[in-house]
Subunit: 171 residues, 4 copies
Amino acid sequence: MGINIINANNKMKQISKDLLVERGVSIEAIAQIVYDLQIKYIPKITIEDCKDAIERVLDKREVQNAILTGIELDKLAEENKLSQPLETLINSDHPLYGIDEILVLSIVNVYGSIGFTNFGYVDKLKPGIIGKLDEEGKQPNKCNTFLDDIIGAIAAAAASSIAHNFEDDKE
Amino acid sequence: MGINIINANNKMKQISKDLLVERGVSIEAIAQIVYDLQIKYIPKITIEDCKDAIERVLDKREVQNAILTGIELDKLAEENKLSQPLETLINSDHPLYGIDEILVLSIVNVYGSIGFTNFGYVDKLKPGIIGKLDEEGKQPNKCNTFLDDIIGAIAAAAASSIAHNFEDDKE
Amino acid sequence: MGINIINANNKMKQISKDLLVERGVSIEAIAQIVYDLQIKYIPKITIEDCKDAIERVLDKREVQNAILTGIELDKLAEENKLSQPLETLINSDHPLYGIDEILVLSIVNVYGSIGFTNFGYVDKLKPGIIGKLDEEGKQPNKCNTFLDDIIGAIAAAAASSIAHNFEDDKE
Amino acid sequence: MGINIINANNKMKQISKDLLVERGVSIEAIAQIVYDLQIKYIPKITIEDCKDAIERVLDKREVQNAILTGIELDKLAEENKLSQPLETLINSDHPLYGIDEILVLSIVNVYGSIGFTNFGYVDKLKPGIIGKLDEEGKQPNKCNTFLDDIIGAIAAAAASSIAHNFEDDKE
């Protein structure tokens, strides 16, 4: 059965977006982070530009795969369905775990290496929805270890996409 | 409880090695792949050198994290404990999934970028235990989607470690 | 002056293609490698499909940047215009140098992590033009340390692009 | 001649350190960035701990390679010895160039993926010596396009090394 779904990119995209909503993340909330990252460089940018860029990022198969895998691991950790010590590593967002950062590299990379800087920056400062997810993840029975990195990576990739389009417009 | 385990690197290493054995992978089988990769460049190399190099790779926290996470996903896929369509993507080792390759980057990277070449090579040719795992993973109720990449990455990293040591000996 | 050129993606692409030709690499020669990589999986594939995929890869800014930078370093090494010991590291394609593999990561990544496997494979086996460049680079006053990795990475990315398109066609 | 130097890791390290000093970067200046990154998490940390961590990072062959290559490109750009349009791309630190971020991935990765966050953060905020290099690089006849990323990457890797050691001490 899954075959039709997983070969259909548009269905994979919808499933990914539904998962983000289920975990409390709206496209608007991510767009706000992208806007704050880019307004300094592109004063004429709008929230709509940022939402369009996020849609382009979510079109990518590697982004959909990372969303599906990361959120699954968060949910399994919350439900205590992972083996030890992995469950503790993920539930505690252990500083040496690092698989969350590795997983989202496939998202950060989608528009080239210029995404790295923005990813690290938002991952450290945790603006807007990212900080909210990080706080929420510290509650018992709640785990956002992968999700906050996923959102930071989507925002960073969307910012890269906007930078590419803006530079091309300069020609 | 997990806290003591996850802060003790030697316990994390033992758990990782036990998991490999549980999934049918011996250090000897990986050492054979490393040996075949390096004998052309270092004629005096021994299987013992290769086993030592694998032990050094398994000492690394990022390698342990990748082993724990990847094998967990394989096992959950086998036991039909993942959501759809993720379960189908992992169980079928879907050509566009790619998270297995991303996850093991943290292993391949452990001794620098010279590991990439060997990783791609063994991932494509699937020598020895890697081919066996790949075949086994095609059986119903069996999934080695992450494991075969993990073994290829450990072998590639061990080969890099040997190359580093050998070059330093030349001084 | 350079400003207009570097903001015009199509000019950057033409410069990159001209550089490849100057160094003895035709799109046809790369297409043959892509074809040999994919014919096993997609029997109906044509050389034209492979050339189209390479053109898509060369459209990407990060690929153009890697081509310009890598070939420049090869040429400077050939002309003895680099400082020591960098010149010797690059001219000898030193096994621990590894910056060539790192540089082309931005190419390999362009269609996601599924490019890693093909890159490592061709980098090791050196089919067609890659083997020819590798041999040529061993001659005195000739250096292809970056170029052979660049060609392998373009071929691997093109193969990934074809795999993405083919899977989408299955829907 | 270069052969003895490039096979001797300690000589490669000294050359790398000399290059940093030649370009105006002291170990102390990098240590201050590492200290500011880690004091929040490890209140007992000292500047000496940070300097030790930087020395460990500089011991790594892949770090030395990145330093040698990146600073060479900066210097060649300054001296107008690169071809166009590469010279303009590097001299202007063009927002779509991105090879500087790719090159230093080999440094950031040295202690695993936890370095990404710190790298992006310092690359964006440009504390201390990084900001100074960035400003200096905007002067005519001066180029620090690669150097500021190299310093950010060394600081991020050193912070990762400290985090690893500190967690191991908790056992």
